[in-house]
Symmetry: none
Subunit: 215 residues, 4 copies
DNA sequence: GATGAATGAGAGTTCATTCAT
DNA sequence: AATGAATGAACTCTCATTCAT
C-alpha cells in the first residue's frame, strides 16, 4: 500500500494559498516554534527572526498572531486530516482486505505513520485543543464523523464475517484510537522519544485482535 | 472499598504548607483560572481579583507566577498522585481480590473516579506537560515506575492463576491506561461532557478482559 | 461680580477622582500635549516622559489612551461647563441687572474670560469635536439646552421691557455666541495671540446692542 | 448673479496638475476619507483601497502622505478660495449694487453657498488648522488681507452713502464672518445637518443690517 | 501580613514608505 | 506608470514583579 505523503499534501495546500517564499518561511518558522515552545511562549519577533523577515512581513499575510496559528491548524484539520483519511480509506476498501487482521494491521500502521510524519502539527493541535475548546470540539467531531461513518461499512463487513465483536462502531473505533494514542502520547510529550512503527503495529494489532474478537 | 478522597488529600497538603486564608484563596483562584484559561492566559491580576486580595499578596508566598503553578502541580504530582495510588494499591492487595475481573473492575473504576474528581488539575497537568517537557517526563516516569512496580505483583498473581496474558507489566499497564484515557480525554477537552462511571467501567472492563486474556 | 474660577473647579474635580500625584501629572501632561499637538500626534510615551512617570503608570488609571482624553474632556464638558454656567447665571439673575446693556456686558465678559482661562481644553474640545461627532453633538446640545433655557427668562424680561428684539431665544443666543466665538477662534488657532478682554467686551457689546435692539 | 462653481474650479486645478485617472482617484478618495475620519485616522492603505489602486501608486505622484494633504488643501487655500473670492467680488463691484442691503444679501448668500458646496474641504481645513498652526495662520491672513482690501472700497462706498457704521473694515468683516460661521459650524460638526440657504441668508442679513447700521 | 501604586521590558500590531518586478 | 511585497520604526497596551506604606 502506498503510504499517504502528508507533508506533500501540506506543502501543496501551502502552494495553493499563493504565499511568497518569505510568507512560507513565516509559516515554517511558526510551525517549528509553536510546536516547540507553544503558541503563547512564541513571540512574533521570534518568528520573524527565525524566518529571516521583518515583523511587518509576518503581519502582511496573516493579519494577527492567531491568524498564523489558524493558517497552520486549519488546513491540517480541515483538509489534510480528512484528505489523508479519505485517501487511505479508499485504498483500504479498494484493496478489499479479506481478513480483519490484515485490515487492522493496515489501519493501525497507517495511523502510526501519519502521527510520526506530523508530530509538530499534532503537538500544536494537542496544545491548543485544551485552551480553545472550539478547536477540539470541531476536530474531534470531524474526525469521528468522517472516520466512523466510513469505517462503519468495513466494521459491518467483518462483523458479518464473524471476525469482529458486534459492538457499536463508535466503541470499536474508540478502542482502536485509544490504543494507538496510548503509544503516541509519550512521543508527543517526551522529546527525543521515537517509535518503531512495525513493532508497535504488531503489538497493538495483537492486543486489539483479542479485545475485539467476537466471544 | 472506601474511595480515596483526593480533594481531602489536596486540602491536607495545603494545610501543611501553613498558608493564610488569603494565600489559600490565591491557590484556589489560580487552580480555577489555570484550568479554564491556561497558565499563560491567566494574569496575576486576574488571580488577585478572583481571590479578593491585592497583587502584592499573590507574591508574598509564591515569589513568582511560576511558583503558583508549582504549588499546584507539585503536591498533585509528587504527593497526591502517589499517595492516592499507594493507598489504593494497599487496599487492593489487602483485599486480595481473587478474580482478575474483580481486580480490573476495581482498578478501572477507581481511576475513572480519580479523573472525574480532579478534572481541573488534570487539565492543568495536561496543558503544561506539553510546554514543559520536564513536567511530563517526571510525571510519566514517576507514575509508570511506581504503579507498574506495585502492580507487577498483582499481574504476576493473575498470570500465575492463568487469568492474564503473559505480557510485560509495562505493556499490560499501557493498555489499561490507554483504555481509561480514551474515555477521559474527550471529557477534558469538551467542556460540559461528563462520564457515567459505572457504565464506562463496565465497557472498559469487558474490552480489557478479552484483550488481556491468555490466548 | 466674582468671576468663576474655572481652573479651581477643574482642579477640584481632579481631586475628587482620588488620583495620586503621578496620575495628576499624567493628566496635566496630556492636557498640555493634546492641546499643543493634538490627540493623534501625542504618543503615550510622550506623555509619560513629560509627566516623569513610566508608561505603565499612564495606563494604570486610565486604561487606554482614549481614557485619558475622556478624563480631560468629560469633567470639562459635563461638570465644569454647566457648573460654571449655572453659577454664573445665578449671579446674573440674583443681581437682577436692570439694563440689557449691563446684562450683555456681564455675560459677554464672563464668556471671554472663561475662554481665556481654558484655552487648552477648548483647543482639545475643538479638535476632537470634528473627529468624534458624538462629542460635538453632546456638547453642543448640552450647552445649548442649558444656556438657552436659563437665558430664556432673562431674554423675556428684556423683551418685555422693550430693550430686546422679539426673536426666538435660540436665534438671539446664536448671535451672542457667534460674536464671542468670532473673537476667540483666531486666538485658538494662532499661537501667541491674546485678547484684551475689556476691549473686545466693549466692541462686542456695542455691536450686539444695535443688532439685537427692537427696531 | 451666476453662482461661482467651486467644484469646477477645483476640478480645473486638478486638470492642470496633469494627473492620471488613478492619481485623481487617489485625491478624491483622500478628500472623502480625510474629511470623514481626519488626516491621522486615515491610512494610505485605506486611500489605496478606496481609490482602487496599489499603495505604490499613491506614492508615485504625492511622495508622502502629507503631500496628499497638501495637494488637497493648497489649491483650495491658495487658488480656489482667492479665485472664487476675486471672481465674486468682481461680480459685486461690476454690478454696483446700490443698496447696502442688497450688497449684504448677495455677499452672505454667496458665502453660505460656498460653504455648502465645499463641506469636505472645509472640514479638513478646520481640522488641520488646529494641529498645524502654519496652515491656519496662512489661510486666515490670506483671506483677511485679500477680502478686506477688496471689500474696503465697498465698505467706504456704503459708509459715505450713510448706510454703514463707520467702523474699521476689519471689524465689520469680522462680524459678517462670525454671523455666517455661527450658522455653518454646527453643519460642519453634526453630520446630516443641512442649511436652508435662503432662510439663513434672510435671518443673517436682518441681524447684520441692524448691527452695522450707523447710529 | 497585606496593600496597590509604580515600574519597564516586551508584546502584538500598524503604517508610511521603498523598491524590485 | 503601476504593482504589492517587504520593511522597520513607532505605537498602544499588558503584565510579572517590586517596594514604600
Amino acid at each position: 500500500m502506498a503510504n499517504t505523503d502528508i507533508p506533500a499534501l501540506f506543502a501543496e495546500s501551502l502552494t495553493n494559498l499563493k504565499l511568497t517564499d518569505k510568507q512560507k518561511a513565516v509559516l515554517e518558522a511558526s510551525l517549528k516554534l509553536f510546536s516547540e515552545k507553544g503558541f503563547d511562549n512564541t513571540s512574533t519577533s521570534d518568528i520573524a527572526k527565525l524566518a529571516g523577515v521583518s515583523e511587518g512581513t509576518v503581519y502582511k499575510q496573516f493579519k494577527t498572531k492567531a491568524g498564523i496559528l489558524k493558517a497552520i491548524v486549519e488546513p491540517f484539520a480541515e483538509n489534510v486530516i480528512p484528505l489523508a483519511a479519505t485517501e487511505f480509506l479508499d485504498e483500504v476498501s479498494t484493496e478489499n482486505l479479506p481478513d480483519f487482521k490484515d485490515f487492522l494491521t493496515t489501519v493501525i500502521k497507517n495511523r502510526f505513520q501519519f502521527a510520526m510524519n506530523n508530530l509538530p502539527q499534532l503537538r500544536i493541535l494537542f496544545h491548543e485543543a485544551i485552551t480553545t475548546p472550539k478547536i477540539s470540539e470541531k476536530i474531534s467531531k470531524e474526525i469521528l464523523t468522517l472516520l466512523s461513518s466510513n469505517l462503519k461499512q468495513a466494521y459491518l463487513f467483518y462483523q458479518t464475517k464473524g471476525e469482529l465483536v458486534k459492538w457499536s462502531p463508535d466503541r470499536i473505533f474508540r478502542y482502536m484510537i485509544s490504543t494507538v494514542v496510548g503509544y503516541v502520547i509519550p512521543v508527543l510529550l517526551i522529546p527525543g522519544l521515537t517509535l518503531d512503527v512495525d513493532q508497535v503495529t504488531k503489538e497493538s494489532t495483537e492486543f486489539l485482535l483479542k479485545g475485539l474478537s467476537p466471544k
